[in-house]
Symmetry: C2
Subunit: 327 residues, 2 copies
């Protein structure tokens, strides 16, 4: 997809501060949960930023709202468009409705019913396509040509990245003296935005991305210093299968201290623990950062660690720990 025309070449703190003001009345200031039980298990003090309680159930509401509200009246007039089967589609639909413009969403025809329902709930207009990246991109191009809508990329867009970074701004107001911030990384919108925000507000903080081992393109790219795209990613964390975007990667290289990977088994265990102990419904992608903390890390003992629980949208009929009874 083409970059948003308002995008500049790199993400700066003032862009995030502006995003914060722009979206303040349109998204939730999400709560921070803590647990003495989880603190004892990890040896650190954990602060869970509940973006699963954000509008549309994921941090994606922040970036999409910022990108849509930042459009000029002229640019916004014909609506916005994206191709997505996930939280960005719902977030863009909602943001467009707030602005009173149409949202055109290209969705693969194998999308889960819950995702379709979320887009429809917020008034998004769905165009179905076959489930390949080529078909999605072609359908989106055709839609834009036909409608004149502005494409809003789910993560490779500085206004979207700036919006996502407001999660870290809020968290550092709620818990100012964090030592470490952990965020999941898929396309990189959340991690890049949070890294720029956190380092601006608290230069001593360590920012660490966490990624499924089965979709480790960000970790490999980070070490190689160049984007190594994802090839056939295999992970339950459906929100983190995308390849790292060019703009997010530029910020991540500069601001992020490390990217670590976690196995599938740890993601499922982390998700279940968050449900059982924090009583909060986190989707697999949202549980990925905590999966890195299931065992104590010597370097984190006693540290104050912020963790972005990025979203809570999933199919309750298909939980990863449901083992069918023996026939």
């Amino acid at each position: 997809m083409a970059a948003n025309p308002a995008a500049l070449d790199s993400l700066t703190w003032p862009m995030i501060a502006t995003a914060r003001e722009r979206i303040a009345s349109r998204v939730s200031c999400t709560p921070v949960l803590t647990s003495a039980t989880l603190d004892a298990q990890s040896g650190a003090q954990l602060f869970f930023k509940c973006e699963n309680l954000q509008k549309i159930g994921a941090f994606k509401a922040r970036g999409a709202t910022n990108a849509v509200l930042a459009l000029s009246a002229q640019a916004a007039r014909r609506g916005v468009a994206t191709h997505s089967s996930g939280n960005h589609a719902a977030a863009l639909s909602r943001a467009a409705r707030l602005r009173g413009i149409p949202a055109y969403i290209v969705m693969p025809n194998n999308s889960a019913q819950a995702k379709r329902a979320a887009v429809e709930r917020y008034g998004g207009r769905i165009t179905w396509c076959t489930p390949t990246l080529a078909a999605r991109e072609a359908a989106a191009r055709a839609l834009v040509a036909e409608t004149g809508a502005v494409l809003i990329h789910p993560y490779d867009d500085l206004l979207v990245m700036a919006g996502q970074g407001t999660a870290a701004v809020e968290l550092l107001e709620q818990v100012p003296d964090l030592d470490v911030l952990l965020a999941p990384v898929g396309g990189g919108g959340l991690l890049s935005g949070c890294a720029v925000a956190a380092k601006a507000l608290r230069p001593v903080i360590r920012v660490i991305g966490v990624e499924p081992a089965g979709a480790d393109d960000a970790a490999r790219s980070f070490r190689a210093g160049t984007i190594l795209p994802s090839v056939n990613p295999q992970t339950i964390a459906d929100g983190l299968r995308s390849s790292l975007g060019v703009r997010p990667f530029a910020e991540i290289r500069h601001w992020v201290d490390d990217i670590v990977t976690v196995p599938e088994e740890a993601i499922v265990r982390a998700m279940r623990t968050l449900w059982e102990v924090l009583k909060t419904v986190v989707e697999p992608s949202g549980a990925v950062p905590y999966a890195a903390l299931l065992e104590p890390h010597p370097q984190l003992l006693g540290k104050r660690v912020g963790i972005v629980l990025s979203g809570g949208n999933l199919d309750l009929d298909r939980l990863p720990w449901s083992t069918p009874p023996a026939a």
Copy 2:
């Protein structure tokens, strides 16, 4: 069980105000969640008081902590005891540990592993018995005779009821202008405490108890004006199978405006909706009040309704919507 010796004959506002101060630093001030989606579905403005995020995962932490901290040094010296397979057992164990005294818990030998683990996590000393009320009471009596511990009843105790009422005090500070307050009713500790608190702070509020149709002794007792004990209650809401206590009933008759019942199907649907939309893990008992609001009620249109989500402890391997695949 014998009543707590410190108990007086009826529950008053000053007892609740004292409880609030006594337990303030030992329990959580739980957040209130809202949802535009659920408001639209119900036609009312809903404020969910998240006692599933309370210490030990349920409001029971309030009452048990109040009862244990209110004991004189002399009375507390030999510890406290109860028979319970549920949240009160964990709450009492935790409260006793806060005070540095032993908690003796009689549990039926068919208790779920998760409940045993919760009691053990907080240092409760478990005595196993056969799963009948007679065996539980006999074991508790023997334990008290042997140890000199003070029995703390899960609900038929004014100090426990006063502690539970602090949930309504907090909610009315967080959302002062509620029109209606809904709470589940089992033994009646939560409903009675919340009713006395709410009517003291806001006399115009309507307080309504909600009960599973399959365990409707409180609704029947409320209409009859006398306690009609529960006979073979059948409900997924395991926290609400107890029969109404004498002391809670006296307050409920006086202060509660109505008690309504909900079918099992609505409880499961309510629970699932709260997980999906509010992203919060609520146990079946905790979903009971919201089950009364799945359909719009003309008399609640536009009203501000507080709902106590009483707890979030359950076995994630046995969710009520998991249908085993066909063999």
